[in-house]
């Protein structure tokens, strides 16, 4: 195999629990989506690629180097972890600049690159605020800024759109497309196929620690479309948002499970995700976060996983 990232029967255990179970896949150039439900092994794979974990068995390389172990090649890799944890006492600018300095950039170059990266993720205005006051979306963006600031060849983004508001999602998706078209190799994980699909048609699907499908997006899409899709939203005014969404004919039902939240069942998630940002902007509605529930995807993944046995 000669991909940007090659995995050959990689296994990783957490005690009795299998994080990856003989995972084999090749991630080529451009943007590749790693899609699977929560607990499928996506973050384990990213942690292995980031050198945080050591494979128990198998072979995992990135840019031709073994994933486990130190090396200057790490400067060619950018990693945006799933966890929202940051050095909360730092400012956004300080965070990105300091990590560049750790990577060996001079003070002036680090400051220059940091300013550029922070601007790329639309955080310039908030760059001098402490990270502890950042919203979920801002935290995701500053994590991406530190990940791209050193201009890496390979960018690893673990659930980068999780918890980001619709406008932020559109902006980050556009950033990822820009990076991809600028020749960066990107692996982006998500449990929402629709998010990844708008970025790339190269998909690796993972379930139960194994790669269950690669590339064949249309077959997977057909399967998923046959299941109604559950989407959770957070809003300051869920009633107003619910009224607006209720007018869409593909929306099957709307529930208000708890204050500040609503759950939408839609037959056409594609249309939903595409139209939501415009609705929010034109109607002036509040949407703080959008999440896709896993239930419907789980059924598809189970189907695919069982089909392989």
């Amino acid at each position: 195999m000669t991909g940007v990232v090659d995995a050959e029967t990689v296994t990783k255990r957490y005690g009795e629990v299998l994080g990856l179970n003989g995972f084999s896949a090749t991630f080529g150039a451009g943007i590749t989506g790693l899609v699977g439900p929560n607990g499928a092994g996506k973050s384990t794979l990213f942690r292995l690629l980031a050198g945080q974990l050591k494979p128990d068995a198998g072979r995992l390389t990135l840019l031709g180097h073994p994933s486990w172990g130190p090396g200057e090649f790490r400067r060619r890799v950018g990693y945006c972890p799933e966890s929202p944890a940051l050095f909360d006492w730092m400012t956004g600018n300080d965070f990105v600049t300091t990590l560049l300095r750790v990577d060996g950039f001079s003070r002036s170059e680090a400051a220059e690159r940091s300013a550029r990266a922070v601007a790329e993720v639309d955080l310039t205005q908030d760059g001098n605020r402490r990270l502890r006051v950042y919203s979920k979306g801002m935290r995701q963006r500053v994590k991406i800024a530190q990940c791209i600031a050193h201009d890496p060849e390979l960018i690893l983004l673990d659930e980068p759109l999780n918890g980001v508001d619709p406008v932020g999602r559109a902006s980050l998706s556009a950033l990822m497309r820009r990076l991809g078209s600028a020749g960066r190799q990107i692996i982006v994980s998500s449990h929402v196929l629709y998010e990844v699909e708008r970025l790339t048609d190269q998909i690796v699907m993972i379930a139960n620690g194994q790669a269950i499908a690669q590339g064949d997006l249309h077959r997977i899409r057909d399967l998923i479309d046959s299941h109604p899709h559950v989407i959770d939203l957070e809003s300051a005014d869920p009633r107003a948002l619910g009224r607006a969404l209720g007018a869409w004919d593909h929306v099957v039902s709307i529930e208000f499970p708890e204050p500040g939240r609503l759950r939408v069942l839609t037959r056409s998630p594609d249309t939903f995700y595409a139209a939501l940002p415009e609705l929010v902007l034109t109607e002036g509605l509040s949407v703080r976060a959008v999440r896709s529930a896993d239930d419907n995807l789980d059924a598809v993944f189970r189907y695919l996983a069982e089909g392989r046995r």
């Binding site: 929560n38 973050s43 090396g71 940051l86 050095f87 300091t98 750790v102 001079s106």
Partner: protein
């Protein structure tokens, strides 16, 4: 680009600043003031200047070095790795091109300098209070020896606890056992057993440098210079072992999310 020293300095500066943030730093500062407050409380009873002077030095050997300095170093040095692994922030450093021994040494230096901001006042303020409250004037060599013992305690305990933070997920508990059982009980045993503790060399150093007063009562069989060598060696060995351990350590938090 900057070299290894620039990266080391950045890691140390990051660790130093991180160590002085939040309620933890406020708590440590309050803890570090405790010996001075005790001396101030004694001073309110108007003892003779000699009694107050001896009380301040006694506190150094009985409270400041084995308890106050030890606890401050435990919190700060263990936090350099274990707390960051659990908080999932270590990844921002460990996935960089900087080599792992540089990270360990940088974090050690950051922790040492941050700890000195607490340990030095904890050691020296009681003497200042004795001076203000009782008119005691300590000789320069006494003040230098007290300051040096605080620095040596910081160097040695920081090395031990930094290593513990990498070696075990229960570093705080193991560190407390080390501090309150190993360091407190072994010095009470006969023979050469006390030589296996850090506090033995700290007290020997003080005893050799301050031969008059309460500190003279501690075992001084080892010359101050030898004590310094042993304590610096303890620090170097533990930092070296921590560097080796960190090369092979998985730094993801222990949980089953996959």
């Amino acid at each position: 680009m900057t070299g290894a020293l620039g990266r080391l300095g950045t890691v140390a500066w990051l660790s130093f600043r991180g160590s002085l943030q939040g309620l933890r730093a406020v708590g440590l500062a309050a803890f570090a003031l405790m010996p001075a407050l005790i001396v101030a409380a004694i001073a309110t009873a108007h003892p003779s200047p000699a009694v107050l002077a001896d009380a301040a030095l006694d506190l150094l050997a009985l409270l400041v070095l084995p308890i106050v300095a030890m606890v401050i170093l435990l919190v700060l040095a263990v936090g350099q790795f274990r707390t960051e692994i659990d908080a999932e922030t270590l990844v921002y450093l460990s996935d960089r091109s900087v080599d792992r021994p540089t990270l360990v040494v940088g974090k050690y230096l950051g922790a040492v300098v941050a700890a000195l901001a607490f340990v030095l006042p904890a050691a020296l303020l009681p003497l200042a209070v004795a001076n203000i409250g009782g008119g005691t004037i300590y000789a320069a060599n006494v003040i230098e020896a007290v300051a040096a013992s605080a620095v040596l305690a910081t160097l040695a305990y920081a090395g031990v606890f930094l290593f513990l933070g990498l070696a075990t997920r229960s570093a705080l508990l193991v560190g407390l056992l080390f501090g309150f059982l190993w360091e407190e009980l072994l010095p009470l045993l006969p023979g050469d057993v006390p030589r296996f503790t850090v506090i033995f060399y700290l007290r020997s150093f003080l005893s050799d440098n301050v031969p008059n007063g309460p500190l003279a009562g501690y075992p001084g069989a080892i010359a101050a210079g030898s004590s310094v060598v042993v304590l610096v060696l303890v620090a170097l060995v533990f930092v070296a072992v921590a560097s080796v351990a960190f090369r092979y350590l998985e730094t993801a938090p222990e949980k089953e999310t996959a």
